[in-house]
Symmetry: C2
Subunit: 371 residues, 2 copies
């Protein structure tokens, strides 16, 4: 059963969005957890499809790393969920695979997405692997260099003139392509797997979520809700949605108690979370209020500093993935030494141009003295 995540109306006539404008989502699942197997089989009852070994590229089952230095620095137990080791090096793969299964179930031979980053790479990769014609819609002003990874998977890349923010909505009207966009209902189902993995390892007190379209946030929350409803856990962590100050429409809406409005032109280094008009933004705000979560917008300099700290705790992530750690100083008053805080590290730093570096020079024969 499909229901609007915003107005709660049951709607089975559409695939993606309710007539109220809200995003659709599948009803909560009921079931049991099996002790063995990877996430798609141990939590099979909670996913809409069975994934065979041939379906999967090995997405999910990522490490939950205890951040030694950052834990000591903040006096908490901080864990980093390392999503950079997925097949296309971001969390998107967990959602893409279920979107593909949906497209195949409905009989599509063409899939698409509106993205220039992690999601485009993921959809292009899985589309190729499953033998589907794949269309990636990008903005016509995209720099050529950004398309290298995506193009190697062999999709059709189409640059579109006009308001790129509108493209998401336009794409949903194209009948013969199944669009696996940022908050596609089946994508959300895939993201639940992260919540299931965290809960199977840790009784988290807080889960910090870099937030853009709102799809990831919704998936994590829905996953935890299903665990509670099925008596698998007995309390839910506090959820924190984080954005960069230079593009924080959902944070603004949460703070001001208003619906999410178009941000205008994003101006943040956290490019992977810079959707100026998040299609699930209002659902994020609704859920934050309902579950007593909170929202933070972080400064650009703090993002870069956090990226560095996370690397020293073992993960080289994108700036967008560092916003959770950058938000910690704002959140620490709500935490103590017993807090178990999970920050989602959503994508790899090597996808992004690295800073240039100056190095010391030494003569080979003087190397021993140099040390």
């Amino acid at each position: 059963m499909t229901r609007c995540a915003l107005c709660d109306k049951i709607d089975t006539s559409n695939e993606y969005r309710c007539s109220c404008g809200g995003p659709l989502q599948l009803d909560h699942f009921k079931g049991y957890i099996k002790k063995e197997g990877k996430i798609w089989s141990s939590h099979r009852d909670f996913f809409p499809y069975n994934l065979s070994k041939e379906d999967s590229l090995g997405e999910g089952n990522t490490p939950l790393i205890r951040a030694k230095r950052l834990s000591a620095k903040f006096g908490i137990n901080l864990y980093l969920k390392n999503e950079t080791v997925n097949p296309t090096w971001s969390f998107k793969d967990r959602g893409t695979i279920l979107g593909i299964k949906r497209a195949l179930e409905l009989g599509y031979d063409k899939i698409g997405t509106v993205s220039t980053g992690n999601m485009a790479a993921s959809v292009a990769c899985y589309g190729a692997y499953h033998g589907l014609r794949t269309i990636v819609l990008v903005s016509s002003d995209i720099p050529e260099g950004k398309l290298g990874q995506i193009s190697l998977y062999g999709p059709e890349i189409i640059a579109v003139d006009g308001d790129y923010g509108e493209l998401y909505h336009q794409s949903l009207n194209i009948d013969d392509i199944y669009f696996i966009n940022s908050d596609n209902p089946y994508r959300i189902e895939g993201y639940k797997s992260m919540a299931f993995e965290i809960a199977s390892e840790l009784d988290a007190s807080h889960v910090i979520i870099p937030t853009s379209s709102g799809g990831l946030f919704r998936g994590i929350v829905k996953g935890y809700e299903e665990l509670i409803q099925n008596d698998i856990i007995d309390h839910i962590p506090r959820f924190i949605a984080v954005q960069g100050e230079g593009c924080s429409p959902t944070h603004r809406a949460f703070s001001e108690g208003e619906p999410v409005k178009h941000w205008g032109c994003p101006n943040t280094i956290a490019k992977a979370i810079s959707n100026p008009f998040p299609p699930s933004g209002d659902v994020v705000v609704k859920k934050l209020k309902e579950l007593k979560g909170t929202s933070v917008a972080v400064k650009e300099d703090d993002i870069l500093e956090a990226q560095k700290s996370i690397a020293r705790d073992g993960i080289y992530c994108q700036p967008a993935s560092a916003v959770g750690v950058a938000a910690l100083p704002h959140l620490i008053k709500d935490m103590d030494r017993s807090s178990k805080v999970v920050s989602l590290v959503t994508g790899s730093g090597i996808k992004v141009k690295a800073p240039s570096v100056k190095v010391k020079t030494a003569d080979i024969n003087k190397l021993k003295e140099k040390m």
Copy 2:
């Protein structure tokens, strides 16, 4: 017990290399496999150290993907071992973690490596995570852009003038730093984990190994030898060492029946396997002969073509990681429809500058017709 991998002499006085010039290696392990747990615990008997959850960043246990299109194209069963999903996106992490354990056992507080690529990133990452001072020696003519990922982990990067090929040997004479170079004995032990994982999933007929220093090749072969010696498997696959034509000193030595000689200046797009004077090259040649393996050098154009094909089967890899697939046309006469061929995909393509791409442009209102 440590023994020379080349002359077989027992040598416990040195850490890295025998007085004959050959690389040292630990004696073969004896033991049993446990059914449960990740690779470091299921195969605990076969590793020199116990790895706790706090030691590990989640390296290993990578997917073995059936390459659908390439299997059909070549009429074999081709599997890709996806090492691009390790914590620093290459297989190096499997060896680095055991090198770190060795350094800690010996009481070092400083570790080092001679590398500008995958290995430098891996050692810098694990050094930071384990709180060790980490020194990365690079050539003084390295482009600044190449050091971004490495530097964010916070190591000391020292550019060295002089013959970079010599640096490997010079580094081994620096007493107060433990060097985890390409064929460090404990690194080799870590690479065995790949063989163990493959064997636990598949009875491979052939294993194709991109080969540079020879460390990876040695690790895979030693892993299989230990499985045979402990009656865990009953036959060994055929091993194939592959290099790029522009730097193939080991292939030349194997073909000509001569010791490995310095290649001179490497000229190949397969940068991650362009060591011009491989420190374990002679051991690779010895093992290929002993086990009736073979060696191939592949053309530059074939490498790029193979990289593209591998992406369409779901993995965007470095050119160096594509040489195995590029070698298939040379190997196919030795294979048939029942062959189960594994090619090691050693590192991520997003570490390398991507090709630029031209895209089609469409008006947003004409999008539907465009499809």
